[in-house]
Structures are given as structure tokens and as C-alpha cells.
Symmetry: C2
Subunit: 240 residues, 2 copies
């Protein structure tokens, strides 16, 4: 088995050879790891709508693997709170509530500025240049109205900074938090559009170039508050 090669997000897959192609034996990725990463991306960038259900056999058929790796990947995502195991033992993308949203906002402001501050002394000129390039990609996606591209680039912008802190324990906490509001973010942007977004990345980049720790903290905090407030108002006015 182990097809899974180039299956696109929600599109129906084209029939491929059932032979296990060992072309990518270079990376020692297990099947459930691949399934995990694929599902994770779909959730993180809004490929699956909040409230929609996922089934083990459904995912297994879609990805061309047995249900075994899917079970492990789904179990892992449930533990990370990216998926929700209901009392019926059915699995769904968790719907967002006002309470959850507010707590996520608090946790982000408590952790992410700190991560940025820890990363700052370790950022090289090349790192900052790469981050600036990512920021330009964000602008391009925003102007093009490419919601998924925006979300990917925005995620990369933040975590290419945070990862430089090498504070893996805190980074893992923040990654788990992002997984929880990903689908929700997509819904918000999909409804409002990306053209009206105005982030604080310029201030963050300026602070990075100056080595201004406190300025970077403030910029990240402001970016979180602005972006989350933006999408928070956009959706939580109807249900939460």
C-alpha cells in the first residue's frame, strides 16, 4: 500500500500505481507521520471546515493507505487538540467558541512575544532577510486574495522567528495553540477576505534589525491582538 504520493487536498485522487514506490526512501518517514503532516497542514491552513466530521476509513481511502496509520495520526491530532473526539466516538474539527477563542488569545500573548524575544539575539542577517522575504510573500498573497497562501506565509513568518529561539518546549506549546485556531482563521478570512488585513510585521522587522527586544515584544503582541481581534469580531458576533 502506501500510495499517498501526490494526493491533493480535498480533490478526488487520480488512480495511481499501487506499487509502493521506494523513490523517497531517503527520508525515514513512517506512513502515519506522512498522514499526520498532511492532516496537520489541512487543519492548520483551513482545508477542513470547523464542525465537519472526519472518518478513519474515509481518510484512509482518500489517502490510499490502510486505516492503521490514519488511526495513529488522528489520535495524535486529538491529543494536540487539533481534532475533537466526541462522546459518540466520532471525530470532528472542533468548533470555535468565544471562551476558547479568548483563552487562545491569552495564551498567544503570554508565550509568543517571549519566544520572539528569545529568538532575537540568535537571528542573523540572513535570517532576517529570509523573514522579510516571507513578509513580502504575505503581502503578495494578501493582495491576490489567496487565503491559504496568506495563512501558510503568515505561519511561516511567525515560526521562522520562534524556532530560532530553540526553546522547543515553548514552541511546541505554541504550535499546539495555532492548530486550534487554524480552521477558524480560515473561515474568518474566507468570509471577509484578506485585502483588509493590516499586520504589525513591519514594526517587528524594524525591531529585529535594530536588535530592539522590547520593540519586538510589543510588535508581536500587537500583531496578535490586532489579527485575533479582527477575526474574533468577524465571527464570534454570530455564535459563541
Amino acid at each position: 500500500m502506501k500510495r499517498l504520493a501526490g494526493v491533493s487536498a480535498s480533490a478526488k485522487t487520480s488512480q495511481a500505481s499501487e506499487e509502493p514506490r521506494d523513490s523517497e526512501r531517503i527520508v525515514g518517514l513512517t506512513t502515519h507521520e506522512e498522514v499526520y503532516r498532511r492532516l496537520r497542514q489541512q487543519i492548520l491552513y483551513g482545508g477542513i471546515k470547523p464542525g465537519s466530521a472526519v472518518t478513519l476509513r474515509g481518510l484512509a481511502d482518500e489517502l490510499g493507505v490502510s486505516s492503521m496509520p490514519v488511526r495513529e495520526a488522528v489520535r495524535r491530532l486529538i491529543a494536540e487538540r487539533a481534532l475533537l473526539l466526541q462522546d459518540n466516538r466520532r471525530v470532528m474539527v472542533p468548533p470555535m467558541t468565544r471562551d476558547t477563542f479568548e483563552q487562545i488569545l491569552f495564551a498567544r500573548r503570554a508565550l509568543e512575544p517571549e519566544l520572539a524575544a528569545r529568538a532575537l539575539p540568535k537571528l542573523t542577517k540572513k535570517d532576517i532577510a529570509a523573514i522579510e522575504a516571507t513578509d513580502m510573500a504575505i503581502d503578495r498573497a494578501m493582495r491576490a486574495g489567496d487565503t491559504e497562501g496568506y495563512m501558510r506565509a503568515n505561519h511561516q513568518f511567525h515560526f521562522s522567528i520562534y524556532r530560532k529561539s530553540e526553546a522547543w518546549t515553548l514552541v511546541a506549546l505554541v504550535e499546539s495553540i495555532w492548530l486550534q485556531f487554524g480552521p477558524f482563521m480560515r473561515t474568518a478570512y474566507g468570509r471577509i477576505g484578506t485585502s483588509t488585513i493590516e499586520d504589525h510585521h513591519e514594526f517587528a522587522l524594524a525591531a529585529m534589525n535594530k536588535g530592539d527586544v522590547q520593540g519586538l515584544r510589543s510588535a508581536i503582541d500587537a500583531d496578535i491582538g490586532q489579527g485575533m481581534g479582527f477575526i474574533g469580531e468577524a465571527i464570534l458576533t454570530r455564535a459563541g
Copy 2:
């Protein structure tokens, strides 16, 4: 199969009243859920030493279940960072490093005082009385040198407060953090003994009785700083 506790619930009807310990609503327990909770307790209260390896078949034989539920439980604990999947694909209790320890300390101080503050307005007289009783259990365990009893009671003291906040997203984050330093804490206390512990629970209780939010925040923060600093110095001086 499904031995596990001498109770062979045939999964047909909901067997009630099995575990009076952690009072959670346990009705439709699956096998992997039972395995998960058992492993979780062992890790949280130091039943397994940091660095020691666990094997799927070993746990399965020990608990009298097949490897299937163990795989799911272990996968879940890996996702929660309570266990570590090494490159060899072997699973172990993560060893503590100075960096990880410092990040856990930061995250605890960032989140737990807030949880306590959110819980305070929802605490009834009866809740506070129960928390005081738990604190007395802590003292008893401390004087008796009962390390595991102390850890259980201390865990209960903190989380019986935090859970009252009903901020489940934040509580989940903090639970994940506790899972990560549990084994380590046990090692420290086992080496030093519990008789020298001096927590700030009295101050916390006083603040709760007065409804003093800021005082409660400070007490929890001090309790974290003191306790973590204590065990931090105790061990990280040798390796980390």
C-alpha cells in the same frame, strides 16, 4: 482480553464506580483510554524514571491487553510530550535538561497564576474547604515522607483550583506541562525527601478566603518559583 484491573467489563453496559481517585466522569471507557490514564498517572507521579524506556509489547503484557490500545495510548502521550519518540523509534520518558526545565518554569508562571485568578470568583466556600483539606493531606504526606502521596495531593491542590476556572483550553496546556516535569519532580523529591518542602499554599488559601485576586496570583507564582527552584537546584547541578 482486557484484564487490566481484574475488572473485565465486557464493554456492553457502562460499568460505574471503578475509580474513586481522579473524579472524572468515566462511563464509556475504552481500553486505550484506561491504558492512557494508567500510564499518565504513572508518569505524572513519577512511577517511571526519566530516561527509562517503555516498549509496546512490554506494556501490553504487563497490563494484560493487546498492543493495539497501548499503541494508541503511547501515541497520545508522545503527542502530549509526556513520552519521547526517539530516532530509533524507541519510546522513553524524556530526560530533563536545564533548557527544558527553564521553559517549563516560564510557561507555568505565565499560565497558572492566570488560571487561579480566573478560578477565584467561581470558588465557593465548599470548594475552598475542599482545597484546604487537600492542603492538609499535602502536609501529612510531607511529614510522612510519602513522596507519591505528596505529588498526588499537590497535583490535586493546584488543579482543583485551576479546573474551577472552566478555562479548559488553558487547563489542557498546563496539564501537558505538568506531564513533562512529573517524572523529574519525583526524582528530585526522592533524592532530597519531602520534609524540607515549604510551599506557599497558606498564602494562596488566605487570598482565596479574602477574595484577593492579586494576592492569589502572587501566591501561586511564588509557589511555582519556590518549588521549581528547589528541585531545579537539586538536580540540574549535576547534569543538564
